[in-house]
């Protein structure tokens, strides 16, 4: 008889190392994408919530989860995407936001700043901290970021949009 030796806590512990492939300094847990883990006998179900519906990193994250768990001997793993409740940048931990800033990405303000029409929120430069910044393009290298430039240090930077 095979005895399942993994508890939900064990699985969460193993998954705590999985990083967001788009922002390789934060984990999916810190991003608020790891919703829950269900352990049923030797079957493990991981519930993930996508940041954006078309986020191409989801497949990669799913593979990472399966490979990481497999390397620790957890075999029967399924990953399920849950949409309810919808992910928001408010779920990002403060640690994630701090790491993101150090990495050079301006972290999101609160989700309330995502108004219907474009508003001029003050986005702080992650490099020099100046508030004299300017939006270059509302869309950047990934669906979740915009492009900014700092008028003080003249460095370009990405801003993680409120969502």
């Amino acid at each position: 008889m095979v005895v399942n030796q993994f508890t939900k806590e064990d699985i969460l512990q193993i998954l705590s190392v999985i990083i967001d492939p788009e922002i390789p300094v934060v984990t999916i847990e810190e991003m608020g994408m790891l919703k829950d883990v269900k352990v049923n006998g030797d079957e493990v179900e991981v519930l993930l919530t996508p940041t954006y519906t078309g986020c191409p990193a989801m497949n990669l994250i799913e593979q990472d989860i399966k490979m990481t768990l497999a390397s620790k001997g957890v075999q029967h793993v399924s990953v399920k995407l849950v949409y309810d409740p919808a992910w928001t940048t408010d779920w990002m931990t403060d640690i994630a936001k701090a790491k993101m800033k150090l990495y050079g990405i301006a972290p999101p303000l609160t989700s309330a700043c995502n108004s219907e029409r474009f508003t001029d929120n003050v986005i702080e430069c992650p490099h020099c901290g100046s508030k004299q910044t300017q939006l270059i393009s509302r869309f950047g290298s990934t669906a979740c970021k915009s492009l900014f430039t700092c008028k003080a240090c003249l460095e370009p930077f990405e801003y993680f949009k409120c969502h």
Partner: protein
Amino acid sequence: MTEQQALYKYCLRLGDNALVQSYRLSEWCSNAPTLEEDLALVNFALDMTGRAQALLTYAGEVDGNGKTDDDLAYRRGEREFCNHLINEQPNGDFAHTIARLLFVATYEYLFYSELMRSADERLASIAAKVVKESRYHMTHANDWAIRLGNGTDESQRRMQAAIDALWMFTGEMFETDAVDALLRDKNIAVDLGKIKPVWMERITEMVKMSGLSMPEGAYMQSGGLKGIHTEYLGHMLTEMQYLQRAYPDAAW
């Protein structure tokens, strides 16, 4: 028609609209006027792909015959697609794409804001995600419409021509049939009659802000809900479905 059949059809409609838009928007990849615009339009295409994936996956589950999102995207013929005609129209010049985005994103923002209150929990949760993305699309279209409409004589002429040309496809977005009626009774479907005046008001305001004039009295095209399309959809599907048609179940 049972509730299950109606819900399947409803999900297909929404999924098809997203899929067809995704394809058209992605045609701008490497062709947009500026690099930033290229990124923006392809970002939208990606949102639409994700939306199509969520909705077509659900459609397959509701249908209960084991169809996946890929089966529905790649193995249905033109007559089985039920997207709105506006979404399959060729991109035209940049102004045409912006005009379509203006009409459709405004519609979708209003539509999905209502669908968030659907009695169907799955649709409501997908809508909650989608509405945030539609808001970006709408804001972007608004900005460009204002810029092109109030820009040079040439940009104004083109923006007006685009709005005039696509206007006849806007009426169809508010058409309803037995599917809507059945699901309306169950509080699952959106009441299109409710969003129509709001859409009209917003578009009128945007057209005015863009220094353009509203198109008048056009005959409204129709047919998408019944699978009767303009010639463009067939060509699009021929290209999009080629691989799965030629090499069924091909994977990489």
